[in-house]
């Protein structure tokens, strides 16, 4: 019994430790002089680790603008796709600018600002493969990054008999297709564009568009003050054209004006 009690109190301590740095305001961040921003570890062109080992990309540019308006230093850490929300929850990151699409499930855990970036999700396959609709995926192996909206979309729409192979992120999912370990993949258009940059002679092409996804900055659920401030910054960046500039630099097109606001 003694051992059980010891174990229980140790567990409580762990849980308590993870909740300590939770409530957070703009003032807190200014006082600390630094904002810890979590980005996605493998989501070109939104965040990529460059040849000198630093992260760069759309999300990093947005993060730097935010830190600039806050008057603090930005500290970027790259997290794997499935580790982004846990990093925020556990207090390792203050905000996540990491290609997170606001979904009702996620919004039960974290809070989202209005979207700051967008892309389309597509079924991609080699030019020789005839795929025009979901039905054509029957009997094929389709690779996808686990824990992403494209995975949810694929699971919901794929006909029975589709073999879904889940990988850690989009770049491995598309690599699996290029290696012939999958017949098709579901990835954002930007991933295919980046892939084509590094392998210009690939025959992979967009087959059909599933959805346009918008992605938001995430804060912890209790950080209303911070979220409101971030919303103001995103709105300001949209109106002043700052966001268009970043968008054109990394994706080739401006940020759409009919993007949702919330």
């Amino acid at each position: 019994m003694k051992l059980a009690r010891l174990f229980a109190s140790a567990l409580l301590l762990v849980i308590a430790a993870t909740t300590i740095s939770m409530a957070q305001t703009v003032d807190d961040l200014i006082a600390k002089g630094v904002i810890r921003i979590g980005v996605n570890s493998a989501a070109p062109p939104f965040s990529i680790v460059n040849t000198s080992g630093n992260v760069e990309g759309y999300d990093v540019d947005v993060g730097n603008v935010i830190a600039n308006y806050l008057g603090v230093k930005a500290e970027f850490t790259a997290y794997a796709t499935a580790a982004r929300i846990p990093a925020l929850e556990s207090g390792k990151a203050d905000i996540i600018i990491g290609t997170l699409t606001p979904t009702p499930e996620r919004a039960r855990v974290v809070m989202f600002t209005m979207p700051y970036v967008t892309f389309t999700t597509n079924v991609v396959a080699p030019a020789g493969t005839k795929i025009t609709s979901w039905d054509d995926l029957k009997g094929k192996t389709v690779s996808v990054a686990r824990g992403t909206p494209q995975e949810t979309a694929l699971v919901a729409a794929a006909p029975a008999g589709t073999n879904i192979a889940r990988f850690d992120d989009d770049s491995i999912a598309i690599q699996a297709l290029a290696s012939g370990q999958a017949d098709a993949t579901v990835v954002p258009n930007t991933i295919l564009a980046e892939f084509k940059k590094s392998r210009p002679n690939t025959d992979l092409e967009l087959k059909f568009e599933i959805a346009r996804q918008y992605m938001s900055i995430a804060t912890r659920r209790d950080a209303f003050d911070l979220r409101q401030w971030l919303n103001t910054v995103v709105s300001y960046m949209r109106v002043t054209g700052q966001l268009d500039e970043i968008s054109i630099k990394w994706t080739g097109s401006p940020f759409p004006h009919d993007a949702p606001v919330f």
Partner: protein, 242 residues
């Protein structure tokens, strides 16, 4: 089911996929131990038996051992699963995982067996040969069995490390315990709960492996264990020469 603010109830619905993952991890553990251990033993024997006059005979083994022991398992799996198709060898996630774990464990266990073989004194072998045992008999009774008995605990440790390492196979889309956990976690956001649960599952496999491997060791090497040897000798009414 709710304990200290953790919610395990929603995980009940995932029991079938978790069991499937448990089955895959166990399958990888068993095939890994059998194939990887066998590979390691064969290479170690090869290295031990190869005539010293032709050192190049053992070079391939050395290259294999060093290449595998000095590169990450993840890199090896990616090369097997994503790299080999470029030379026309396409393996399913399960087959790629089995091969990856076998090759990885094979390299580590080669070295462990080697340590066992090197612990056998030259004089013992000479004594065996002078008593009229054939080369094969010497290899079996004087070298192999005592050497393996000596390194059995380290081997068990390596086998368990290999089993725990199978969690990396989720990176090549194999849905063993960890891959299943990543999927459940991304659907439910019950991170702590899922990882606590699979921690228990891994512990379960480790316990089973430990128990059965030490039972196997006891039965294989019972003659060589000092305490048993004393008892057996007492029963037979002979003295123990040590």
């Amino acid at each position: 089911m709710d304990f200290l603010g953790l919610h395990f109830r929603p995980l009940i619905g995932y029991a079938p996929v978790l069991l499937r993952g448990l089955g895959l991890t166990s399958l990888l553990a068993v095939t890994g131990v059998l194939l990887g251990g066998g590979l390691g033993l064969s290479f170690a024997i090869w290295r031990f038996m190869a005539p010293k006059r032709y050192p190049w005979l053992t070079w391939p083994v050395t290259v294999y051992v060093e290449a595998i022991r000095n590169t990450p398992l993840l890199v090896q799996l990616y090369i097997i699963f994503l790299g080999l198709p470029s030379v026309g060898i396409r393996l399913s996630p399960l087959l790629a995982s089995v091969i990856g774990m076998t090759i990885n464990l094979g390299a580590y266990s080669t070295e462990i067996f080697r340590a066992g073989f090197e612990s056998i004194k030259k004089q013992q072998i000479e004594a065996g040969l002078s008593l009229g045992l054939t080369r094969l008999q010497v290899m079996r009774h004087i070298v192999l069995v005592p050497a393996v008995a000596k390194v059995w605990p380290s081997l068990m440790g390596q086998f368990i490390l290999m089993m725990l390492g199978t969690s990396i196979c989720s990176f090549i889309s194999l849905e063993e315990i960890s891959g299943t956990a990543y999927n459940i976690q991304s659907e439910t956001f019950l991170n702590f709960e899922v990882y606590l649960l699979i921690g228990v599952l891994y512990l379960l496999i480790t316990m089973i492996m430990k128990t059965s491997l030490s039972a196997l060791g006891n039965s294989m090497f019972s003659r060589l264990l000092p305490a048993r040897a004393v008892k057996a000798a007492a029963r037979a009414g002979t003295g123990v020469i040590e």
